[in-house]
């Protein structure tokens, strides 16, 4: 993107304009089609009759066989849907062609803008635009995003900050709702507002709709700014968990606004219903999650449909929760969280990749569609612009958010170990974006006789707030993050050492807690793990995998990826020259003062890290690829350059050389590392005593033998790791791929 001549810039701009024109044009023509079918059914029928007449006459005058006919009705529905999705995605593509814009403006803004354009065009030709149907939104567009978020939720960060998140979600949302609702009611009483007919309950309803932080908007904006994990999980977790509060408040106020009086009993029932909604939702999710995990235990013979189970069970969890007006979002999250560890132990690598990509794909499409529809509905929807109402809504929303965050943080920091700084508070407050959920809920408000204008007024205000938060806050949050020097997301380096030490620390701290006689966090976590291991895993994970400890599965997956890469990258014969050359280069570049150690070049290391990172499935609670903006390329699917593969090979060979070297003190024969590569559909069991089966990679073995000897002569091998113990060197370090 950096090197762009003036000619190609104009070319790019031209192409984008062309795309825009095509889009508008096609939506226009599409609407013409629908328009014709919609608004003029009569002529069609007449036409039909005429056709029939023609048909009956056909026996008399032979009509020519129709070579080309058009029957749009037949494909209308899928055609429209596909067209819309296609347009949305083309727009997404288009944004990234324009270099500057995508850096400054978040994608969500651009999509809303496009939606506005399209909506405007449609309105200009006096057609009825497809509005964001509430059913469409809640049943089809929202679940993929939530499932994507829930499935890849970083559990450790989430549970560590659970208290904070809950406080923000529950107390914060309640505060927002009542504050905004109350203040707006006061505003409505002002003469100038001309809105005195709005009742308190309506205002509270409005407050409850607009107070909830929206997960879609938060995801869309926060993913692009790569903020540190703590802040991300705080805001995002809050946006997920406040769904329960929103659902309860919404239904509560809606019921009450139709009832005559509100008693204390009703309020009490409201509180009870909150617990029912949230816990019920979670329970539904857990049940389906367990079912899904259990099902995945038996899918070893039909790997192809494995991803479908994950999707369907999760979707069923969502729908089942919605049936009972429980919190569908929490159900979905619970299902994903519960299902994931067991499913991932059972399914094949390819299924895992499929799940990941499909989830990202669907959530990406959903998000795009949501924002575009938001734009279109804005142009379309019933509006009632009431200056005072809108302005005050905006002001009070911002005010309540800031006050809420500051006040709650003050209380929370007394209980937190890692306190939230002012900068953190600012980001949390600033990141409270509203989005499409608020809009859809607004749409759901019943239109009573005298409420007609009210609904329009509410919707206008909601849209304004949404626009303000998404556009203004969304656009400025990135420069603000830079300005305030907020900690960014740490570059993830999954390493076996980290895994080892994480576990070590956990055990250590549990031990210290036990010595202190303190049944704290670690004690219960340990108990849960033990329960999980002894009972749950046996039921939900197939075969011997159930007893596989975390560390081993982590390690094995890492090794398998490297082994596969090694096999894929072909022969090792070419390597020594490349490697020697590389080493010489490095030695010239980097002599450290005390010793002449060539460092592994940064790019190579980064490459390897990237590859490892992309392939590690089981980085426990540390999966950082929950952003669909930085999905790393899977090297198996990436047919990229020879250079890259060569680099990988070099690294692998270097690695292997460590194992193939002869430490003078200890051993005579080099210990050869045997790599077994077995087809994936088998279920792997651990069997130490099983003799090694030379299945597919005998060739590799020979090669490595040859190259080992060659290398040990040609270069001084790195005697990094000794392999003491003459008894043990026979088996070498064989390991199974999993």
């Amino acid at each position: 993107m950096a090197v762009v001549g003036p000619g190609s810039v104009s070319l790019r701009f031209g192409s984008v304009l062309l795309i825009l024109l095509i889009l508008s044009g096609s939506s226009w023509t599409r609407d013409i089609f629908t328009g014709r079918n919609d608004t003029r059914p009569e002529p069609n029928r007449e036409h039909h009759d005429q056709d029939q007449d023609h048909g009956t006459n056909a026996t008399k005058h032979k009509k020519a066989f129709p070579v080309l006919e058009s029957n749009y009705d037949y494909v209308r529905m899928p055609f429209e849907i596909s067209l819309w999705i296609l347009l949305a995605l083309l727009m997404k593509l288009g944004f990234h062609i324009i270099p500057r814009v995508s850096h400054i403006v978040p994608e969500s803004c651009l999509l809303i803008f496009v939606g506005l354009l399209v909506g405007g065009v449609i309105k200009a030709i006096h057609e009825k635009a497809p509005v964001m149907d509430t059913k469409l939104f809640f049943l089809y567009l929202l679940p993929p995003i939530i499932l994507d978020a829930g499935y890849f939720l970083p559990i450790r960060a989430f549970t560590e900050n659970m208290g904070t998140i809950l406080v923000f979600a529950v107390v914060g949302t309640l505060w927002n709702a009542f504050f905004v609702g109350g203040m707006m009611f006061a505003v409505c009483q002002i003469e100038a507002a001309a809105a005195a007919h709005v009742s308190l309950l309506s205002c509270l309803l409005f407050g409850s709709i607009i107070s909830a932080v929206d997960p879609v908007a938060v995801l869309a904006v926060f993913e692009e700014i790569h903020i540190n994990e703590l802040l991300h999980i705080l805001v995002f977790g809050e946006s997920l968990l406040n769904d329960a509060v929103t659902v309860v408040l919404y239904h509560l106020f809606e019921e009450f606004s139709h009832a005559e009086t509100v008693t204390v009993g009703d309020a009490f029932l409201g509180v009870v219903s909150f617990f029912v909604v949230s816990l019920g939702g979670i329970l539904a999710g857990v049940i389906y999650g367990v079912l899904g995990a259990f099902t995945s235990r038996f899918t070893s013979h039909s790997r192809v449909i494995e991803p479908l189970f994950v999707f369907l069970y999760s979707y069923m969890a969502y729908l089942s929760a919605e049936v009972f007006h429980l919190s569908g979002i929490m159900s979905l999250i619970a299902c994903g969280v519960v299902m994931r560890p067991y499913v991932e132990a059972n399914i094949s690598h390819k299924s895992y990749t499929t799940i990941k990509y499909f989830l990202k794909m669907w959530s990406s499409v959903s998000e795009t569609l949501i924002f575009i529809f938001l734009g279109v509905s804005t142009v379309e929807g019933p509006h009632n612009w009431n200056w005072i109402f809108v302005i005050f809504t905006l002001v009070f929303c911002l005010l309540s958010r800031v006050l809420g965050v500051i006040g709650l943080t003050f209380i929370i920091n007394k209980f937190r170990i890692v306190k939230l700084t002012k900068k953190d508070q600012f980001i949390v407050a600033y990141g409270g974006l509203r989005g499409a959920i608020a809009f859809s809920l607004g749409y759901l408000i019943h239109e009573d006789g005298d409420n007609k204008n009210t609904r329009g007024m509410f919707l206008t205000a909601i849209i304004t707030v949404i626009f303000f938060t998404v556009f203004v806050q969304g656009m400025t949050i990135r420069p603000l993050v830079e300005l305030l020097a907020v900690k960014k997301k740490k570059e993830s380096k999954p390493s076996i050492n980290e895994e080892i030490h994480t576990q070590f620390l956990d055990h250590l701290l549990t031990g210290i807690e036990d010595i202190c006689g303190h049944y704290g966090h670690h004690h219960w976590k340990d108990k849960l793990n033990r329960f999980n291991k002894t009972y749950v895993k046996k039921w939900l994970i197939a075969g011997d995998r159930s007893s596989e400890p975390q560390l081993i599965s982590f390690y094995n997956k890492m090794e398998m990826k490297q082994a596969m890469m090694l096999v894929e990258s072909g022969s090792a014969a070419k390597l020594p020259s490349v490697m020697a050359a590389a080493q010489n280069m490095e030695q010239q570049r980097e002599p450290t003062p005390e010793r002449m150690i060539p460092k592994i070049s940064k790019t190579r290391e980064a490459e390897i890290r990237r590859i490892l990172r992309a392939n590690l499935q089981n980085t426990r609670q540390r999966l950082r690829s929950y952003s669909r903006h930085d999905l790393f390329m899977d090297p198996f699917e990436d047919n990229l350059s020879e250079v890259r593969f060569r680099r990988q090979r070099v690294e692998m060979e270097r690695r292997m050389s460590h194992y193939l070297t002869v430490p003078a003190k200890r051993q005579e024969t080099p210990s050869v590392r045997k790599v077994w590569f077995e087809p994936e559909h088998k279920v792997y069991t651990y069997d130490e005593n099983e003799s090694p089966r030379p299945s597919d990679s005998a060739a590799l073995l020979d090669e490595s033998n040859r190259s080992a000897d060659g290398q040990s002569e040609r270069q001084k091998p790195t005697r990094c790791l000794s392999d003491p113990g003459p008894n043990e060197d026979e088996e070498g370090s064989s390991f199974r791929s999993s």
Binding site: G520, W524, D526, L551, C720, P724
Partner: protein, 276 residues
């Protein structure tokens, strides 16, 4: 975050002590007899200075100490092994050993003890307690810097490479390092590491040796690479403390330590408040 501990995971074992205290024994330790190794409240302030615990925390820990030691004034390994929940811990041996490793009492000491008194118990526990705001920063810096200098002298590296804020991490890391380094030579060799990995895997049965070896190899390789130790001419003996620090610094140990360890302390504080 709101800790679950507040909601009353009161350890039933301590209730007898609580009842004692509630019965009006304000100074239970004074009645325990005039054994030299039992500090009376006046010496608490000394210990508080040295270790950084508050007086109340020391009192609680002392109670726990006496409970563990069945009223005796020294703890032995058997007392530790009696703790039932510790049995499930794969690294229980290391943890227990850490309490008896003289290097953890004071950096100038060496060797292994067979029994420890309350002061040593407190000394080891204080490693798991990052400094709170209760002692002044000055005090803290003085305590730590002094200890750290000695520790680093022993390990043979200069302390100029560490920032002041890294001191508490470094100290914690030192304890962990000692736990890994079983033979006490200042290096974590492949053997030590392998032993560690085996222990971590020990709970899962007979998968052990081969995989542990492979994992330990991979891990050592990684460490070597992290510290830039890829000279073909050099034989990588083991992880020195400096390398270990560098390794751990990548893992955000500090924040995790802060987050997790202080729960113990919070428990002590809150427990004290509610019962004394």
């Amino acid at each position: 975050m709101i800790p679950v501990d507040v909601l009353g995971c009161v350890v039933p074992l301590i209730t007898s002590q609580v009842r004692e205290a509630a019965r009006g024994e304000r100074e239970p330790l004074a009645t325990m007899g005039a054994l030299k190794s039992t500090p009376d409240p006046i010496e608490y302030s000394d210990l508080s200075e040295k270790t950084g615990f508050s007086l109340k925390q020391i009192r609680i820990l002392h109670k726990r100490f006496r409970q563990l030691s069945d009223g005796d004034d020294v703890l032995r390994r058997e007392h530790f092994r009696c703790i039932s929940s510790l049995r499930y811990n794969p690294i229980s041996v290391e943890i227990i050993e850490a309490f008896f490793n003289r290097r953890n009492f004071s950096p100038s000491l060496q060797g292994i003890a067979d029994e420890i008194g309350f002061e040593e118990f407190l000394a080891v526990m204080s490693h798991f307690r990052p400094p709170t705001a209760k002692i002044t920063d000055e005090q803290r810096k003085n305590i730590r810097r002094e200890k750290l200098q000695c520790a680093f002298c022993l390990q043979g590296i200069s302390n100029q490479c560490l920032p002041v804020t890294g001191i508490k991490v470094a100290f914690f890391s030192a304890v962990i390092f000692n736990m890994h380094d079983s033979d006490g030579d200042g290096l974590i060799t492949l053997e030590d590491y392998r032993h560690l990995v085996e222990e971590l895997l020990s709970r899962s049965g007979a998968l052990g040796k081969e995989t542990a070896k492979a994992i330990a190899n991979a891990a050592m390789f990684e460490v070597a690479r992290t510290v830039g130790h890829t000279d073909p001419n050099e034989f990588y003996e083991g992880i020195t403390f400096e390398h270990f620090l560098k390794l751990l610094s990548n893992f955000e140990i500090e924040s995790r330590m802060n987050t997790l360890l202080l729960r113990v302390l919070m428990f002590l504080d809150m427990f004290v408040r509610s019962f004394l």
